[in-house]
Assembly symmetry: C2
Homo-oligomer: 455 residues x 2
Amino acid sequence: MYETNETHDRGLTSWVESANDSQTDFPIQNLPFCRFRTLISGLGIGVGIGDQILDVSLCVKEGLLRTSIDHAVIHGNMNALMEISVTERAELRASISRLLSENNTALRDNPMARQRALLAQDSVEFVLPCTVGDYTDFYASVFHATNIGSMFRPDNPLLPNYKYIPIGYHGRGSSLIVSGHDVRRPVGQLPPAQDGGAPGFGPCKLLDYELEVGMYVGRGNRLGEPIPINEAEDHLFGLCLVNDWSARDLQRWEYQPLGPFLAKSFATTLSPWIVTMEALAPFRCPAFQRPSSDPQPLPYLLCDNTTHSGGVDLNLEVLLQSAKMKETGEGPIKMSSSNLRDLYWTPAQMLTHHSSNGCNMSAGDLFASGTVSGPTRSARGCLMELTWDGELDNPVPGTERTPIQLPTGEQRKFLADGDEVIFRGACSADGFRTIGFGECRGAVVPALEPAHQTT
Amino acid sequence: MYETNETHDRGLTSWVESANDSQTDFPIQNLPFCRFRTLISGLGIGVGIGDQILDVSLCVKEGLLRTSIDHAVIHGNMNALMEISVTERAELRASISRLLSENNTALRDNPMARQRALLAQDSVEFVLPCTVGDYTDFYASVFHATNIGSMFRPDNPLLPNYKYIPIGYHGRGSSLIVSGHDVRRPVGQLPPAQDGGAPGFGPCKLLDYELEVGMYVGRGNRLGEPIPINEAEDHLFGLCLVNDWSARDLQRWEYQPLGPFLAKSFATTLSPWIVTMEALAPFRCPAFQRPSSDPQPLPYLLCDNTTHSGGVDLNLEVLLQSAKMKETGEGPIKMSSSNLRDLYWTPAQMLTHHSSNGCNMSAGDLFASGTVSGPTRSARGCLMELTWDGELDNPVPGTERTPIQLPTGEQRKFLADGDEVIFRGACSADGFRTIGFGECRGAVVPALEPAHQTT
């Protein structure tokens, strides 16, 4: 478990003035990693500071920062950086913090170097922060699982394994994309109009977002060697925001017996920033308080650390802006807000469970949390929950089905072409600067014309 | 679709004498790719010929073979080789075939070069033939799906989507291992003794193999751009054997609602060889003959090519040798044999379906077929089918449950520690040399002691 230290000091300010703005996601207490590309410098590893990026690759090249893997860092190899020891990570964080501190002159008073090493965030192309070898999607919100379960299986919403197993499945790595890229509405098999009938084939009609948080693995484990729960936190590198775009009609028809497949693999959007476990130290919180009627986790998923501070107090929100809203100058509206602390399982429990059969993790592997929903209606993390099964043909008796009203007079049950979905996240705690996650953003573009579909 | 040409000529012989042996898997008509490592030359790309490997990386380095990606080939980058055009692949195959032909003197009559370029297969360490970016496991045998379905869901064995969708799920890439490595029995949550009870936690009791065939992707597609069925074959590089080791007790407890996870991700064994689509040309066969009561595939999965030659006539067999059989000198016994042509879906249909939502494939991605079972008892590709639910607590009424008898007097319902499982595959057709797939082999070693489990 990471401890709070001087890098979190509320009084710490930076010579990068925008970092001292009370509204920034990226004060000097945050220092999230990203990767970017510029025409001049090519692929680089950076750290967010105010509205700027500190080019860490360049700083290492010029001797302003040092690591045990300088060559890899200079060449933008984030995975190598994710694999260094927890001790070395803390040292790197401390040295970046010093380099950017108000009183440090090394860069501050060297205009030439400073100009090269600081890049405006709006001047670069962000790329995926690392190579994700394997991507796993969990299902760790009991509120989400109960809501979705009652729509897909009204008689059996929460399966008997849910309270014992951090349920997850392998996701598709190749279609992970970084925030800001459009998402094409997928085409696929649509459920038959009646039982026993033939499915349709065409553009997804029930396109949804899912508000999730991603956890990046730092140092991995060898095949056959499980990660004990007390060591799990040492293998976590940091968190990001994830939009697990979901084609609900494809999903409903395809998902049995082997789980979601094409309903998810057309695109998954990641925020460009990795907020490190070190930065999150002040915002750790107890694991979810299980109702007394629920079973305790099995011993391999229990530990003192996770009992007291296994969760993360991370506020999340979803915003939506339709094409018409953009045209008429209406800003995005808030769809919901929820908090990562409401997950039934902690990141450490997910990681330990995942490796309990000996499965090997590598630096850069990504776990998504599953949709982060809370106990209230305003904390539902996807449209399917918010509009309670939206346009599907078989509503659950007795449940309301409330379309979302947009300020333009438009209604939404699921996403329309042109809709842009924006996730934000921030951690706040008494006595600490608020740290943000930046944005995870994507707009829906129309499906391919039939001539370019696979027909 | 690949055409048969002079590289398949039955009369073609090689100056590598072992390639002319009628029993070899690797006559000059085969030329499967592999990757290997030696102390001297490091990582290399090779081609199997008789009991030898032609070091393709070295031949390119020394100018005996030429490609458009010489640098990548020299450095053992198989993925780059998999991405070249179908035309260039055919040219490379033809030039390798010429280099190894009886009458070609370039290597044959140069003892120094020949000694460096030919390595005995039993002298090298095989490694995974490429970097598998994403691994997908299908469920394409209707016989397997019906058998397993009737055990997991007796009232509903074959779900309504099966005959429309090539059902598949994302698998775990990190735990793919190459033939010859031991497989540790996984530990995990075991189903509760009675409904509503707590699960156990310990070594898997119902460990199984699954006989599968893997399909490697050659050139990929861009995100959002589906691969039409008529072009799908151009994106296939070749086939291998796959053992999708399965922990049936873990699987039964964890798999709903999101599919298999830890029951599979502890290890998946691949044969070292990729038998190319070019080599398989003489052994293509019509797609599965659906019963007239079955629906036709939707238009996006139908094409003239696949109607006439979408399948592959590939004979497969499973052998097993227990530790006691090894001690007493008993050779492996045959458990079952089946044929890839019995799959309900063709490789092209699986690929086109997988990309139909715009999901992007990359060179080196791997699709496994799912267990290849046939219509008869002797063609069941896993123990769970052969022993009909083996030791599970709830036998299907009216079904036989027949343990396997080993020549040592031992019985098997599922795998015991020390058991070695061996898959073999071969294609035969009138007028052609038989080509083989080599072996996919792995032995089960005991689970970690409890102190080293994640408890």
